[in-house]
Structures are given as structure tokens and as C-alpha cells.
């Protein structure tokens, strides 16, 4: 065989680049044995994956729900060796940084990993960049253009705008979709960097901006905000200035 089994495995897993893929596809067309080997890798991967599929359908035990209810270390665990270590780490609670904690807790609590699995592709409202998740498309447009509280035509509603401790502008938002999301984005250069995403609740088909903002987002705002949220005039001025941070304010 022209290709190693490891190469065929990588092909079946979608790992090879365009050129290598084309070579293998040509070889598969000529040699049924190669095609069968690839198919075997694929079928095997599907078999292994499906063997563990049932776990996702199981109800999550109660004890995990309690773990993420608040920034208080949870007790009890059966792995004896961890006890001393945990007692020690309880003392470090004061050093927790709330935005990360709330983002993490929100992701655990809502049972979805926002960003990687939920939305991908060209129309996704955000994408991963070197800096982390940044707003794209309708979310980027709304964060850049929409004034807080105004009812636009799109699926995004901006909640409040404020400046964080570093002087950057930040805005909370709701994104209407089958599973509504709320979050906090802060201006970083020419982009809106997402600080936090959380599942949002919907009430009778209407988003109620203040009431529906998840606690995780509110905590993140509390942790980041410097002073008070911007009033309408300050917000409009900031928008018209392209959300640029003036150096005299940052220091």
C-alpha cells in the first residue's frame, strides 16, 4: 500500500491538508483496498464515539449542580487523597477572579460549551481569534452601532455600556436565538472581545433586558466596571468616536 495506516487514519479523521487529501482520494478511486481501509477507520471511530454517546443523555447528578451554584468551594468528594489539598485551596477563594469564575460556572451550569460547539461557520456571531472570542457579523455590528436600550431590527439587543478599569468600553448584550445568549464584550483595538457568554432566559417570547440578564453576566459587569454605566449622551459620544479609548482617561 502506498500510504501508511497512520496516514489513512489521519485522512479518515479529517486531519490531512488539501494536497494529501487529493492524493489519497485519487488512490482510493484506484485501489478499493485503500478505500476500505479508510472506511474501516471511519466506522471504527463512529463505533467508539457511539459507545459513549449514552453518557450525554444521562441526567447530571444533583451533586454537580450544587458545585456551580456560587463561588463557594463544594465539600465532599470520595477521592481521599484530594482532601488536604482542597482544604488548602479554600483559603485561596479570595483570589478568585470573578469573570473567569462566572464564565466557567455558567458554562458548567448551562451544560453547553458556548463558542466551540454552538456556533461555527461563516454566519456565526463570533469567532475564535488569537485574542480569544471576538464578535463578528450581526453581533459586531450591533455592538458598534446600536445604542443601549434601542430596539433594533436584528436579533441583538445591547444592555448597558460602561468603561472598565483599564478604560476600555464594554457593553452587555442579548442575542436572540433558539437558545438565547447574553454576554459581555469589551472593545479591544478594532474588535469587540467577548469576556463572557451565558445562557439567557426568555420570558413569554420577549427579552426583558434587565431582568433576563443572567447573574453570571451581572457579576462580570460588577467585577469589571469602573464608576457608573454610561448615560445616553456619553454612550452616543463614545459610539461616534468609534469607541476609541482616550489615553488621558486610561491613566
Amino acid at each position: 500500500m502506498k500510504f501508511s495506516d497512520e496516514t489513512l487514519m489521519a485522512y479518515a479523521d479529517g486531519e490531512l491538508d488539501l494536497v494529501a487529501r487529493a492524493e489519497i482520494e485519487a488512490a482510493m478511486a484506484e485501489d478499493p483496498a485503500i478505500a476500505r481501509a479508510v472506511e474501516r477507520h471511519r466506522a471504527f471511530a463512529a463505533r467508539v464515539r457511539s459507545a459513549y454517546g449514552g453518557v450525554l443523555e444521562e441526567p447530571v447528578p444533583e451533586r454537580f449542580a450544587d458545585l456551580v451554584k456560587g463561588p463557594v468551594a463544594a465539600p465532599v468528594v470520595d477521592l481521599a487523597a484530594k482532601r488536604a489539598e482542597r482544604a488548602e485551596s479554600r483559603a485561596t477563594i479570595g483570589r478568585w477572579r470573578l469573570p473567569q469564575w462566572t464564565a466557567l460556572a455558567a458554562s458548567l451550569a448551562v451544560g453547553l460549551f458556548v463558542g466551540m460547539l454552538v456556533m461555527r461557520g461563516p454566519s456565526a456571531p463570533y469567532e475564535e481569534s488569537a485574542a480569544g472570542l471576538v464578535a463578528r457579523g450581526e453581533l459586531d455590528d450591533a455592538l458598534t452601532q446600536q445604542l443601549a436600550g434601542s430596539v433594533g431590527t436584528g436579533r441583538v439587543r445591547v444592555g448597558i455600556s460602561f468603561r472598565d478599569r483599564g478604560g476600555a468600553y464594554c457593553r452587555t448584550f442579548h442575542l436572540e436565538r433558539e437558545a438565547p445568549l447574553a454576554g459581555l464584550a469589551c472593545r479591544s483595538g478594532e474588535e469587540w472581545k467577548l469576556q463572557l457568554l451565558a445562557a439567557a432566559s426568555v420570558h413569554e417570547g420577549e427579552l426583558r433586558p434587565a431582568a433576563a440578564m443572567p447573574m453570571a453576566v451581572l457579576h462580570a459587569v460588577d467585577a469589571a466596571i469602573e464608576g457608573e454605566p454610561l448615560d445616553a449622551a456619553a454612550e452616543a459620544a463614545a459610539r461616534d468616536a468609534g469607541w476609541l479609548t482616550t489615553p488621558d482617561v486610561t491613566e
Binding site: R63, Q100, G111, V134
Partner: protein, 153 residues
């Protein structure tokens, strides 16, 4: 994310009780170290890395205590799958339980979680070539155990 953490734990620990204990330990560790997670980076990858390390710690602790559990409880509870699907799942899980930890973790990330080789290698903090070879060896061993060596060659 919890269901995925539970699934990952089920793959790498080989039994239900250990799996959920591991999830709990990992979640506690993650919450305590939340400031180490870079917002916007892959949270699942970060969590799986914590879990893998917590499991290795646990294995070492058990060896020290000379109380290594037999993998006989593998796949003890797989929900409401039909009998046939359950048998298949059990046989895969039983076969997985016989692999070395490092191969099982590679398979857990790539085949079960759908990570790219690159993301899986980063999660485990190993070179991509190492990841690929563990994955290939693990797959080969699994197929041999399950008795479907295939028709190609």
C-alpha cells in the same frame, strides 16, 4: 459542559464511580483555578487537561496505596440503550479499559470528543507526533481486542 466532562471521565477512568468523582474533583480544581483560564480560549480543552492530570494524580496515589481497582465495573451504567447497542457499547468500553491510560486519553479526545489532533496534543501538552502515534497504537490495539482486524492490508 457537564455531560461532556462526565463522558470524558467515563472514557478515561473505566468506571462510573471513579468517573463522577473525577468530574467533581476536576470541577473543584477548575473553579479554584478559574483565573488561569484565558477567557475566549477553549474551556473544554482546559477542563479536559485538568481532568487528565487529576486522573494521573489519582492513579499514582492509588498505586502508592496499593489499592489499584480492577476494571471490572467498566461501563456499568450506560443509560437506556437497547440491549444490542448496550452490548456493543459494553464491548467497546471493556476493550478500552484494557488500553494503557495514555492511549485511552488520546482516543477520548479525538474519537469521542472530536478534537483535532492539534487541539488534543495541546490539551495533553504533548507533541502532535506523539499524539498521533498514541492514537494509532490505541486504535490498532482496540481493533485487535474487538476482533475486527478488517479486510484491508
Amino acid at each position: 459542559m457537564l455531560p461532556r466532562l462526565r463522558r470524558f471521565a467515563r472514557v478515561i477512568t473505566r468506571n462510573l464511580q471513579d468517573a463522577d468523582d473525577l468530574v467533581q474533583v476536576a470541577v473543584e480544581k477548575a473553579l479554584i483555578r478559574a483565573e488561569q483560564w484565558r477567557p475566549g480560549s477553549r474551556m473544554d480543552s482546559w477542563m479536559f487537561g485538568i481532568m487528565k492530570n487529576a486522573w494521573i494524580d489519582e492513579i499514582r496515589a492509588r498505586r502508592r496505596r496499593e489499592r489499584v481497582h480492577a476494571p471490572e465495573e467498566a461501563g456499568a451504567d450506560i443509560g437506556d440503550a437497547s440491549a444490542e447497542a448496550r452490548d456493543i457499547a459494553l464491548s467497546v468500553q471493556a476493550a478500552m479499559a484494557r488500553l494503557p491510560d495514555e492511549q485511552r486519553v488520546a482516543i477520548a479526545l479525538v474519537l469521542v470528543e472530536g478534537f483535532s489532533y492539534k487541539d488534543a496534543a495541546e490539551t495533553l501538552a504533548i507533541p502532535i507526533g506523539t499524539l498521533t502515534s498514541r492514537l494509532a497504537r490505541g486504535r490498532e490495539a482496540l481493533q485487535a481486542i474487538l476482533g475486527d482486524s478488517g479486510t484491508a492490508g
